[in-house]
């Protein structure tokens, strides 16, 4: 509520003005001299208005007003002078201040007093409201500024992270290429001494075998066995490291035809095992035939290798289209895939191993039970990934196995942009 300072040396005047203004709810502070008014104003300056009697002993109303307005903090307080009509004194004072000064003539008209007081009080409250609004707006502005700043910083951060991500991807790809190159060179250089071991242990056996007892001959045999395993391993590592990711090698190919070619390559083994290969129709897709052939070969070869002892292997190859929904860059989309199934009636394996069998060198059997280097399925996985596809296996022990290769179906000759994985 607005505070009003009333200054008059006559107690009865103070009383009558108070009683006129009190009903309006103002907070009234009374001073009965200019000096007392100044004293009050030392500590309180949130007055909306000062009602000042002009005719006062010692310090007159005008003198008090001048002293009040000397102070910065009090300059905003409007003063209504209560005076008996006197033209000259008014003129002297108008020089000091414009606007926030008014007069009320004695005898005081109560309505006029109330009206004038309310105008100044309202002005005071409006001004204060405006100031408060202004503060609010400044604060809001500042908040907005900060938000914008923060948002910009986040954007910068995201840009930076994105850049780092892309750089990391480049680094990873380079590292992968280096690894492939290393694997290739290592395998290549390892083959030379291996060949020597082979040649000379064979010569030892054939030319000096008669000088050795059975134990000695057995040692040579073991050397030769281990050497051929090593050779198979190196050969597989070489194949693995040479896998081309070059999109130029992709060409639209009839997969049924490709599969039939692979089957005919395996003719002797198929006959040996009395196996039956059933190929249902497979679609034509844009693939790298030089990679797809070894993929099919590996899967078929596994089906024949891991067959049950007394049951002739039956391998069924068929396909199904499938829609897979994927999230790329936050956008969900559905892509059409072709699923190729290679299903056999062999010894199978526990489903719990269905993911690790695709790991490099991972085998579920000892090399004496079933020969192999443990690279075959890792190779299949790498080939499938080059085609932006997926590979998985379903099986249970003793109930055969099904390998599922999912390849994206893109009809035109161009495969889609490689998914940066």
């Amino acid at each position: 509520m607005a505070k009003i300072l009333i200054v008059d040396d006559r107690e009865d005047n103070l009383m009558s003005i108070s009683s006129l203004l009190e009903p309006s709810g103002y907070k009234l502070v009374k001073a009965n001299s200019g000096r007392e008014a100044l004293k009050i104003l030392l500590s309180e300056y949130d007055f909306a208005l000062i009602l000042m009697d002009v005719q006062m002993p010692n310090l007159s109303g005008f003198e008090t007003a001048s002293l009040i307005y000397e102070r910065e903090k009090l300059r905003h307080i409007p003063i209504i002078f209560i005076t008996a009509h006197s033209q000259d004194e008014e003129n002297t004072f108008i020089g000091y201040k414009t606007g926030a000064v008014d007069y009320i003539y004695k005898p005081i008209n109560p309505e006029l007093l109330r009206a004038k007081v309310s105008v100044f009080v309202e002005l005071y409250s409006k001004t204060h409201q405006l100031i408060a609004q202004e503060q609010k707006l400044i604060a809001i502005n500042k908040n907005l500024e900060n938000e914008v700043k923060e948002r910009k910083l986040s954007e910068e951060k995201v840009k930076l992270l994105n850049l780092q991500l892309l750089q990391n991807i480049d680094k990873l790809e380079a590292a992968n290429k280096d690894l492939d190159r290393f694997a290739f060179m290592a395998s290549h250089d390892l083959q030379e001494p291996l060949r020597k071991i082979n040649v000379f242990s064979e010569r030892l056996d054939s030319e000096y075998g008669n000088l050795l007892d059975t134990e000695g001959k057995r040692y040579i045999n073991r050397i030769q066995n281990a050497t051929s395993r090593l050779q198979a391993l190196i050969k597989d590592i070489l194949t693995f490291s040479k896998i081309s990711t070059d999109k130029k090698d992709f060409v639209k190919s009839d997969l049924s035809q490709l599969m039939k070619e692979v089957v005919s390559e395996m003719e002797s083994e198929i006959q040996e095992k009395n196996a039956q290969i059933i190929i249902e129709e497979l679609p034509s897709l844009a693939i790298n035939p030089n990679l797809m052939r070894p993929l099919f070969f590996n899967l078929l070869s596994n089906s024949l290798k891991y067959s049950k002892k007394d049951v002739p292997p039956v391998v069924r190859i068929y396909s199904e289209p499938e829609m897979i929904s994927e999230k790329l860059n936050g956008v969900e989309s559905k892509r059409k895939y072709c699923r190729i199934f290679v299903s056999d009636n062999g010894i199978g394996f526990e489903q719990v191993f269905s993911e690790q069998i695709f790991d490099m060198f991972k085998r579920l059997h000892n090399h004496t039970e079933y020969e192999g280097t443990g690279i075959g399925l890792a190779l299949c996985k790498k080939i499938v990934e080059v085609h932006n596809g997926y590979i998985s296996a379903k099986s249970s022990l003793g109930e055969g196995a099904t390998f599922i290769v999912s390849l994206p179906m893109i009809e035109q000759g161009e495969p889609s942009e490689p998914v940066r994985a």
């Binding site: 083959q191 030379e192 060949r195 020597k196 082979n198 040649v199 000379f200 064979e202 010569r203 054939s206 050779q231 070489l238």
Partner: protein
């Protein structure tokens, strides 16, 4: 060194000592009538050939990975030099790279033989090559016949 040359002058250029020894021993064991010369790299090969005192080989077995001057460079020089271009050059290498095979084919090598993995295979291969008239047998020049496939040993 004034021995009369035996029937067929053959030269092997290979930097690997073991391979040179194996080749020479295989030749001895299959009892073919050849006069074998051994050199250990491309530079030595060209020096040997340019020596007027020697008898020009009819067949050169040429390894690819040799220091100083490698097999590719030798092959190119042999086939572009009038005095040497009619020598039957057999590339004798462990390489499995189709790129290498294509390259030596392009450089007009006459035959490609992959170094066998065993001594008995080596004897078999050399026997099959050195007991026929290579120039007559391997003249088709097609890629198919370029890579030599030995008839497997009958057990």
């Amino acid at each position: 060194m004034n021995t009369l040359p035996k029937y067929l002058p053959v030269l092997l250029a290979d930097d690997d000592m073991d391979d040179r020894t194996l080749f020479s021993e295989a030749v001895t064991r299959i009892k073919v009538d050849i006069d074998l010369q051994l050199v250990k790299d491309g530079a030595e090969l060209m020096d040997y050939l340019k020596n007027s005192a020697i008898i020009m080989p009819e067949i050169i077995f040429l390894d690819l990975n040799m220091p100083r001057v490698n097999g590719f460079e030798c092959l190119a020089e042999l086939k572009s030099t009038a005095a040497f271009k009619d020598i039957f050059v057999i590339i004798y290498s462990t390489t499995q790279s189709q790129k290498d095979i294509d390259e030596v084919y392009r450089l007009k090598a006459n035959l490609f033989v992959r170094k066998p993995d065993s001594f008995s295979d080596l004897k078999n291969t050399l026997y099959q090559i050195l007991t026929i008239n290579v120039k007559e047998q391997f003249t088709s020049g097609t890629m198919q016949d370029f890579v030599f496939k030995a008839t497997p040993l009958s057990k």
